[in-house]
Amino acid sequence: MAKYTLSLENKDCIYLYDGTLAGFYNCVYEAVYEKEIPLYIWTDHTKQQSFFFTKSISTHMEKAQKVRESVKTQLGSQGQYLVKTVFFSCLEDKEKKMLDLILLGYEKGRNILEALDHPVVNPLYKAQRHLLGEVHLFEGFVRFEEVDGLLYSKIAPKNEVLPFLSRHFADRFANEKWMIFDEVHKVALCYEKGKTQLIPVNHIEVITSQEELDWQSLWKTFYKTLSIKERENKKGRMNHMPKRYWSNLVEVADEG
């Protein structure tokens, strides 16, 4: 496993990129090519006022591809998955932290991923767990309602979970038309006849039919009946099902 000895300098500059994964890979390319480590890596959404020199990084697919391949070679598929998942997580300053990891991986090789207590590696695994944990929660917390033969759902996640929910719901509801709208990140995951797409959407208005309300009512009744009074444990319930998800859960939406 070839390890590169890179001599990159810390520079007082800021990278501005387009917010896509390919765009991020271009930032990595720029840093390695210019032998510099920027102070911050921002998008239009995360940028702040600053006196430091700001570089706009444009996205070239060939450069992104080169970086993606080098990450796979130097850090292995585990490293590549780590980069991909952390990119969609809500970790603060994730781009800068991912850059630090990739440079560390170039220098030390893929074994550095096993140093789970390393100050660069550890927070990234934590962020990955946070994202994947939320993905798993949503596999259960997505609630569909039938609207004109289409199954529609709205969620409010902290991380960008939609790309990771795609496979699960495409397998399970392969013969349905469905849509999951992420109201925080303003994106909708849409599926029909074997194809999924991510579409940017600002707002969706839905009119719930009477038949739908009847099914929801039946579900709420079932839910309330299940509880055993002598074992009441509202705190336990909140630990497993944090209140921030309640607004989109039919059975507890009025309690929240």
């Binding site: 550095i112 140093a115 207590d117 997505v142 039938e146 013969n175 509880s227 074992r231 497993h240």
Partner: protein, 447 residues
């Protein structure tokens, strides 16, 4: 009769069967048609106000029953409303809920209507509509009815992901007293049949890939605790035996909740033994995940759980000769014995220690509960282990949850000498302090 009314009655009766898992099954192939999938890890769709996971539509086919099991709300001598789902109704509701992602699948049990065979046939009709008409590939947990015809049990096995039959009570005497219609052989015979079927099916699958699956997610069972006088040791020995003999995936423990007044049952005001149930689950986990034998957790001489220490901490305190362990040299099995280290952090330690030596801070980053583990380990920055007294160690391991369950739960454990002193205190905080003080006088943990 209104569907909502039926659902209320039949869900209310089924909720005391606490089996809740939706994991461990294999994907099914229906050639691109149909609906549904199974998730390897199981998915919780919601949680009830009592903190338990909701993953399946858990109902009875009917609560009509000809048996008279004393503890059951549906016993034939109890005067309650009796209703039944038609197979079509139940299949339709299941699919409607499934499409909306409310559930992973169906958990179907039943009162014994006319006879075990008649009951099983109705349940099988529901499952056949789901599997063959709707092409349902989601999770189905079916209850085997004690006394049912082996041919029907087998038929159900090809329709379900998991099956279970409840052992109900932890000893044959208790079973004969409280559930005389369900003799032990009527419970163990189907359990054995299913276990054999699962084992043979796995062999057949390794030879012919397209063999239809028989109960791919395995078997489970449930016992009621606190309704009868068996000790904790008897119960975990029974559970250990069932795991070994029948290859069960899970044993569930259900704290007795008085629903009926009867001379043979505990009084109707009895509080469910929740702390004891909690300790049983902790012991169950030790047997399945931590490589403990039942005899290591409890014994004939010490047949009761310690109310203040979880079973693993209790073992550690009584086996101080095994500690301190060097975190860099201990095997995985040894790491699992250290309080504060579970299967996940043990695996992480084994990986991380290849790369560098570990300090207490590193252990914390790996998810170890260092507040507990520090008394038992040697690390790079603690090269000779903990130097304090056994009492200090015991105090650090006290389970604060013992107090959050309420003092009436604690009073069910009569083993501790200073119990009255502790329970006499006004708040949970003060009770915890009183316990720590009591430990210092006695100079020994509990018995």
């Amino acid at each position: 009769m209104d569907l909502m009314e039926k659902l209320k009655v039949l869900a209310d009766s089924a909720k005391y069967d606490v089996a809740c898992t939706s994991s461990g099954s294999k994907p099914k192939n229906t050639g691109g048609k149909g609906i549904g999938s199974v998730a390897a890890a199981g998915i919780c769709h919601s949680f009830t106000a009592d903190g338990r996971c909701v993953s399946l539509l858990k109902v009875l086919q009917t609560n009509v029953c000809v048996y008279d099991c004393k503890y059951c709300i549906n016993r034939c001598t109890n005067d309650i409303k009796r209703v039944a789902f038609t197979p079509r109704e139940l299949a339709d509701v299941t699919i409607a809920f499934y499409r909306r992602n409310y559930i992973e699948g169906l958990f179907l049990s039943s009162g014994v209507n006319k006879s075990p065979d008649y009951t099983l046939e109705k349940m099988i009709q529901t499952l056949e509509i789901l599997r063959y008409e709707y092409g349902f590939k989601g999770y189905i947990h079916g209850k085997a009815i004690p006394g049912g015809d082996p041919a029907l049990i087998e038929k159900m096995g090809y329709l379900c992901d998991r099956m279970s039959i409840n052992i109900e009570l932890p000893s044959e005497e208790s079973l004969n007293t409280l559930a005389p219609n369900k003799p032990k052989r009527n419970i163990l015979q189907p359990m054995g049949q299913i276990a054999k079927g699962v084992a043979e099916n796995m062999k057949a699958l390794s030879l012919y890939r397209h063999t239809p699956s028989f109960v791919p997610a395995g078997q489970s069972t449930q016992m009621i605790i606190g309704a009868t006088p068996e000790t904790d040791y008897q119960m975990i020995r029974l559970a250990g035996g069932l795991y070994k003999k029948y290859g069960l995936k899970r044993v569930f423990y259900s704290a007795y909740i008085p629903a009926i007044e009867d001379t043979l049952l505990p009084s109707i005001d009895t509080k469910p033994p929740l702390l004891r149930e909690h300790r049983l689950y902790q012991a169950d986990w030790l047997m399945r995940m931590y490589q403990f034998e039942p005899e290591e957790i409890l014994s004939e001489e010490n047949p009761h759980f310690n109310p203040f220490l979880d079973p693993k901490a209790n073992w550690a305190i009584n086996h101080m000769e095994a500690f301190p362990m060097d975190i860099h040299k201990a095997t995985l099995g040894q790491l699992l014995r250290i309080p504060g280290i579970g299967p996940t952090s043990a695996r992480r330690i084994v990986v991380a220690r290849r790369e560098s030596s570990l300090t207490m801070e590193s252990l914390k980053k790996l998810g170890v509960v260092t507040k507990r583990a520090r008394y038992f380990v040697i690390t790079a920055d603690q090269p000779v282990g903990f130097r304090g007294s056994k009492n200090q160690t015991t105090r650090a391991l006290i389970d604060p949850k013992a107090f959050t369950f309420g003092s009436e739960q604690l009073s069910m454990f009569s083993t501790f000498k200073g119990m009255d002193y502790i329970l006499g205190e006004s708040s949970q905080q003060k009770q915890l302090l009183a316990l720590q003080e009591a430990l210092t006088w006695q100079n020994t943990p509990f018995h």
